[in-house]
């Protein structure tokens, strides 16, 4: 296992990889003839469940709303570079809800061109915003039952916050291709329809690339099992 570099370098690397993936012709593969394969496995996240407490505010005369939220913090596994022909844009929609002062899901992986809805399901205001270079936005304050949306056109990592509730945070990973998967509750992932070839498989968790592996999808399309451990 490769030792992870510093966080800053890793985040920079991740962004660079995600944004340059479309220009990786040397990974051109035989899309037409061979059977597509499956990459699957498990990411063992040592602390997948995180208890998030609101920041202490001595100014409050008592509080309302949820005090403690347990967030599931999955990993994202993706191909560092994807096959040629895999970059067609899709007009899709995704949802990141705001419920009990928590973004649900905590991690959202989408392809570039996707519009993400941010409905407010709490009985008070939220103010979703991001200062990420990939896609800065500020949706302002809006009430329960309302929703606002953002279209993400550029690949990269977008960290999302609420301006009112400082303990709320989430990640949106925007990919230029479709070869990625968010781990499920057991940490398992599955990336299907991968053309034969050799790839770098990346495991990302909470703002950092945690591990990378070289994998080969055979012409026969047999599933490739790769496990990661994230601490």
């Amino acid at each position: 296992m490769r030792r992870p570099p510093t966080r800053t370098r890793i985040v920079g690397l991740a962004v660079a990889v995600l944004t340059t993936v479309a220009a990786a012709p040397h990974h051109a593969l035989r899309l037409e003839a061979a059977a597509a394969g499956v990459l699957r496995g498990r990411v063992d996240i040592k602390r997948a469940q995180v208890v998030v407490e609101p920041r202490p505010s001595v100014s409050s005369v008592g509080t309302t709303g949820p005090q403690r939220a347990t967030e599931s913090r999955p990993a994202v596994v993706y191909l560092e570079s994807a096959p040629r022909g895999a970059f067609e844009r899709e007009e899709t929609r995704a949802v990141m809800n705001q419920q009990d002062q928590t973004f649900v899901p905590h991690v959202l992986a989408i392809t570039a061109g996707t519009t993400v809805e941010f409905p407010n399901s709490d009985p008070y205001f939220h103010n979703v915003f991001s200062l990420s270079r990939t896609q800065p936005f500020d949706l302002g304050r809006y009430a329960a039952g309302r929703s606002r949306s953002v279209r993400f056109d550029h690949p990269g990592v977008v960290q999302v916050f609420c301006d009112i509730h400082s303990h709320m945070s989430a990640y949106i990973l925007v990919f230029a291709h479709r070869y990625f998967a968010v781990t499920d509750a057991q940490g398992r992932y599955r990336i299907g329809n991968v053309p034969p070839g050799t790839y770098t498989l990346v495991a990302w968790h909470e703002g950092s690339v945690r591990d990378t592996r070289q994998v080969r999808v055979a012409d026969t399309g047999e599933p490739v099992e790769t496990d990661f451990t994230v601490r």
Binding site: R7, K46, R47, V50, V51, V52, E53, P54, R55, P56, S57, V58, S59, S60, V61, G62, T63, T64, R68, P123, Y124, F125, F129, S130, L131, P136, F137, D138, G140, R141, Y142, A143, A144, Q159, F161, S166, H167, S169, E206, G207, S208
Partner: protein, 409 residues
Amino acid sequence: MTIGQSGSAVLFWLGLASLAACAEPALAQDWLTTPATLVGGRIVLAGDASVTFGSGDEGFFNYTNYESSTLRRIRAGLAARVVAGSRLSLLAELRAETGSHVEPYAWYARVQPWPDRSFVVQAGRIPPVFGAYGRRAYPQDNPLIGDPLAYQYLTSIRYDAVPASADELLRMRGRGWLASYSVGNPTPAPGLPVVSALRWNTGIQARVGWRAVEASAAWTMGSLSHPLVKPEHGTGQVSGRMAITPVVGLAIGVSVARGPYLSKDVLDAGPSAGTGPSLRQQSLGTDLEFSRGRWLVRGEAIVNSWSVPALSAPRIEAPLAMTAAFIEGRYRLRPGFYLAGRLDRLAFEQISGSAGPVPWEAGVSRVELASGYSLTRHLIVKACYQYNQRDGGRIRRSHLAAAQWLFWF
């Protein structure tokens, strides 16, 4: 000892850094994103540090009862909540700023007898229930740099000295920075703001909420303008606030407070013209907050009076009344960048001196315009311009500017 000169300040900063470094490993990986915790989430930490540098304030418009200007100060705070169960938590904040010791700004126990109901009791050095600004977390929740006049401007009222006559009081118009009177402590010293935003009272409070209505009440040892940590009077201040949220994004509150503000020494020194229990600060306030989209608008109005003993002619027959009001707004132009402004006014009622009726203190107006930019989510820079105008005193107008660097976690 003051910050910048004292070993305690250095220890405070070292302590803050150490606590941040000791935060739970899983959260420490991204401790700026999620609140830092210790002991499996039972201790939650938050902190801030700010450096403000601005024009010299020769008119003392921005000086606080810490004897320093809000436009020239270094400030750091570290807050912690210890979760002792579903019903009990302990909260405290250590704060250090220019002109003060490192001191416990707040420390209290919060009891929620029925965790699923909106009923909370807090006891210790507690936040004020009166108004709204006093409960704002200063660095992040103040889009400007200066404080509202009602919460900062030093009037000529003192807690440890009183004027013997109306003429003596009128001689101190516009000199709240360094007022002196013949009864009580004769040493010139800063006067009192209407509400002290920098010091909190010790006492007990309860809050109950039901749907769109919430009510809170408190008994504390000192008054709004002169909070106390230790008991000094036989009685204390009673205060309360009722607020309604008719629609999400609009909150309207009404507050009252009544309590002693004069020290026991001055009450003992005062001749028979005044009695302790009748010499009180009384306040009635209303506050409003409206937000929608990129807008946030807040305002408060306070009608306040201080009773002083009527000693010598020309006597101060009635309580010294005044009105304070401010309205402020913030508009977020683009992600991380906002503009803000505040209009502020203190107006004082007239009393009769030898020369006729005159407002007992010089009225003050302020316009402050500011902008803020988030370099990162946790690092904000602000800049402000401030125009102050006073109806009396040596310096009656001032144009001030300041910049602030603010870090919070």
